[in-house]
């Protein structure tokens, strides 16, 4: 049962951020009951939407003083329940903290507030010939603050790396409202431990980042995109291994399986993939225009040698968007097949992909579940998508049992339980699969280092 906020506390919060930016009405709180992991829903006591570091500091000071738990929230696109409220907690949302504070093209840096949408930063840096590399699938909606909290990846992280590679400095509001600066470009030689690296991926448990300094890259001169179509997933998997081990460095290598192709082609997002294909492989190269055709030719040869039935190549930006469509719209297409979709996330060594995918298919059959796979094949980051109806309790329980089996499988081949979505609430129960009790205790102590009272995002990551 959700507790209501004591009027005096609500008034103090309104005095800080303005009365329009403290939400306590039950009908408006519904929108904050879950993030992208819709299997769980809890209404918070209130939502507070500050606009500046100073306001965040004062809000956290009040909530800390009252012993009220804080759930940080960006755009709510997370898929592990990292922003799931607790019934006695208050959400501190960063939606109004959406200013790009500076773009320093000489040093290729940008400083942003946490509510800036990922794709907007790239758009804003385009006039300088620059862009922000990490590109989560939700980049048109997710925020940089959320990306920092989850250490987000994306299709092009195969070549360019994940969020932690690009964050150079942070301004963080700690649980008690103290404002602390971590790192900063130009200060790499200063003494001390890498607290920026530790903070990235801390899932809102260590503090709220209110200013984020990131490194930008020069926009690639050219791009080549291929779509390889295969009879079987195994053949597509072999093509991936051949491409990577041949010395090529693709920017992205993504696979969609047969079930996903069928779902996409039956939806408004139809991308023209043949529905009898067992798997589709999207391969992209970027960089200096002069070498791209050679790279694309070599990748095409790898696909054909692995048994591709067809390899398509985009001749224009419009065609490139078309080739990507089946991959990028996969989640949306699956939404029309079942009321709910659990987007799982795990990483395995790339060479173990074929056997893991075959076993995931078997697990789906054993539990009577429809599982479709869309994933970052180049770095072994799987996204088995389990379709279900959360109103069906029996099915929900089967989803949970199948998820555990998939996670156990991935760990057993040397992988891990999450590659880019984070632990949140969804993977907390799987943490003992990858960490022993000594290691779990160290994670608890690390949390204590930053938030001794345990008020920030309690119940997430590790209990």
């Amino acid at each position: 049962m959700t507790q209501t906020l004591v009027p005096t506390v609500a008034d103090r919060l309104r005095a800080i951020v303005g009365s329009d930016h403290v939400i306590t009405q039950p009908d408006r709180l519904v929108a904050y009951e879950s993030d992208g992991l819709t299997a769980y829903r809890v209404a918070p006591r209130a939502v507070v939407l500050p606009e500046t570091t100073e306001q965040v500091s004062k809000v956290l000071e009040v909530l800390h003083g009252e012993g009220i738990d804080v759930i940080p929230r960006g755009a709510g696109t997370g898929l592990s329940g990292g922003a799931l409220p607790s019934s006695d907690g208050v959400i501190v949302g960063t939606a109004r903290m959406n200013r790009i504070l500076s773009i320093d093209d000489q040093n290729r840096l940008a400083t942003v507030q946490p509510g800036v949408i990922n794709a907007r930063l790239t758009k804003a840096t385009e006039p300088y010939g620059l862009y922000y590399a990490p590109d989560p699938a939700s980049q048109s909606a997710c925020t940089l603050g959320g990306n920092v909290a989850e250490n987000s990846g994306g299709p092009h992280c195969l070549k360019y790396g994940v969020t932690s590679r690009y964050v150079t400095g942070l301004t963080v509001v700690m649980a008690d409202g103290e404002v602390v600066r971590f790192g900063g470009a130009g200060l790499e030689a200063a003494a001390g431990l890498d607290l920026v690296g530790l903070f990235v991926g801390s899932e809102g448990c260590f503090g709220i980042a209110t200013e984020i300094e990131v490194r930008l890259l020069p926009k690639a001169e050219g791009v080549r995109t291929l779509l390889g179509l295969f009879d079987t997933m195994a053949a597509a998997g072999h093509a991936v291994t051949d491409i990577i081990s041949s010395g090529l460095m693709p920017a992205a290598v993504e696979i969609v399986d047969h079930a996903t192709i069928v779902a996409v082609e039956a939806s408004v997002f139809a991308a023209g993939y043949p529905t009898d294909a067992g798997a589709a492989l999207v391969i992209e190269f970027d960089g200096t225009e002069a070498g791209l055709d050679d790279d694309a030719n070599r990748a095409e040869q790898c696909c054909l040698a692995a048994g591709a039935i067809e390899v398509r190549r985009a001749a224009s930006e419009e065609e490139r968007i078309g080739l990507w469509k089946g991959r990028k719209k996969a989640f949306g297409a699956m939404g029309r097949i079942a009321p709910d979709l659990l987007v799982q996330d795990a990483t395995v060594p790339r060479t173990r992909l074929p056997e893991v995918l075959a076993r995931i298919t078997e697990i789906g059959e054993e539990y009577g579940l429809n599982i479709a796979n869309v994933f970052h094949a180049g770095d072994g980051n799987l996204h088995p998508n389990i379709l279900f109806d959360r109103q069906n309790q029996d099915e929900l329980e089967r989803v949970e049992r199948a998820s555990r089996e998939i996670m156990t499988l991935c760990v057993s081949v040397g992988g891990t339980i999450t590659g880019e979505h984070g632990v949140g609430i969804d993977k907390r129960g799987y943490m003992p699969l990858v960490h022993n009790e000594v290691e779990l205790e160290m994670l608890r102590r690390a949390r204590w280092v930053f938030d001794p009272g345990g008020n920030l995002n309690p119940g997430k990551v590790v209990q």
Binding site: E150, S164, V180, A191, L198, F206, S245, T288
Partner: protein
Amino acid sequence: MTLVQDLRSALPDVAVRDGLEVATGLRGGAEPELVVSPSSTSEVVEVCAWAGRQGLGVLPVGRGAHVDPVRDGRFIVLETSGLTGIEEYEAADMTITARAGTSFGVVDDALAEHGQWAPFDPPSVRTRSIGGFISAAAHGPLWAGYGALKNHVLGATLVTGDGRILRLGGKVVKNVAGYDLLRPVVGGRGRLGIVTSVCLRAFPKPHHERVLVLSDRSVPELLDAGVALGTAPILPVSIVVSGPLTELDGRSALVVRLHGAESTVDADQATLESHIRAPLDRVHEADSLLDEIRDRGGVESRCVEVSVLPSRLRDVVSAMRNVGFASSVVDSYAGRIRIGSNSLEREAVDALRGAAEGAGGALRVVRWAGDDRPAGTPQREAEAGLSERLESIFDPDGVLWPVRP
């Protein structure tokens, strides 16, 4: 009973010798009570526990060439030279796991057999132990093209000060299963524990490398060109400006490396030349030149590093008169300056630190033989407080860090 006898009695299988045969980097400082060379993670645990019972500090070293002399205190040196060998190399997955005392050269040779490499180029990298240079987060100019070392350390086994074994990270490229405790270990200089094995990400060896040089210009002009190249539409894998180089007949130079297909580097060279409006000379046999640049600052008894935004490099370099550019190498994309010289003086370093901090940067003393060690730029107070708390959960009894400067 002497300490050696006590240790031999308690841990008969652990290699031990007296402290006179200390690692080169420790010479000139306090003498360790013992030097031990455990050959397994469990022996490292036992040594830490034994040292804790004896009230002795534990100083982990790799090859020992890049550590600082210890000022005072009773301590033992724990060498990782007994922890050698490649544990696992999955060439198709491009991951390699090696024990901490393994020299990087051994790892590099294993990778090369499969057309792969790990793009790390700190000074003397081939002879350094893999655990040592990870603990130091030692880096080189390939940072520009491949990112920092910390991005490519996928996992490590760590023994904490109180003897717990932690497996941090894993052997997959993407992994966010819990807070990233591996990050502060990389560059943690042994403050959080003793690394006993490391898993690294490997890369396909580039098909073609081109090394380009601009010389016969003043140092400020070279520096301006280097900084300008950092804003070019294409990003070389490294951009450095070096003081006089033997391989270039004593000339200072801007040296740029390009990787890729031959047609790609042809186009990239043209782009760079257009960007700085100057031709770049191609060096055909560049290995010795690259080694000379890489190792600058790696063997001298005194070495400092400066970091600053690239756009402020000129301000700092102009303040280097008393230090001398001759012994320096500047990574103009990263904004890093490394200065190695046996004759560096404290006053000059103090002045350089002032210039660096005045330009928004920082200075770190990497190595300093002698008693007049200058201070580096400290972490901010709040950050330092958090770092101390973090150290306390890894090393609650202060076993690992009571003896360092």
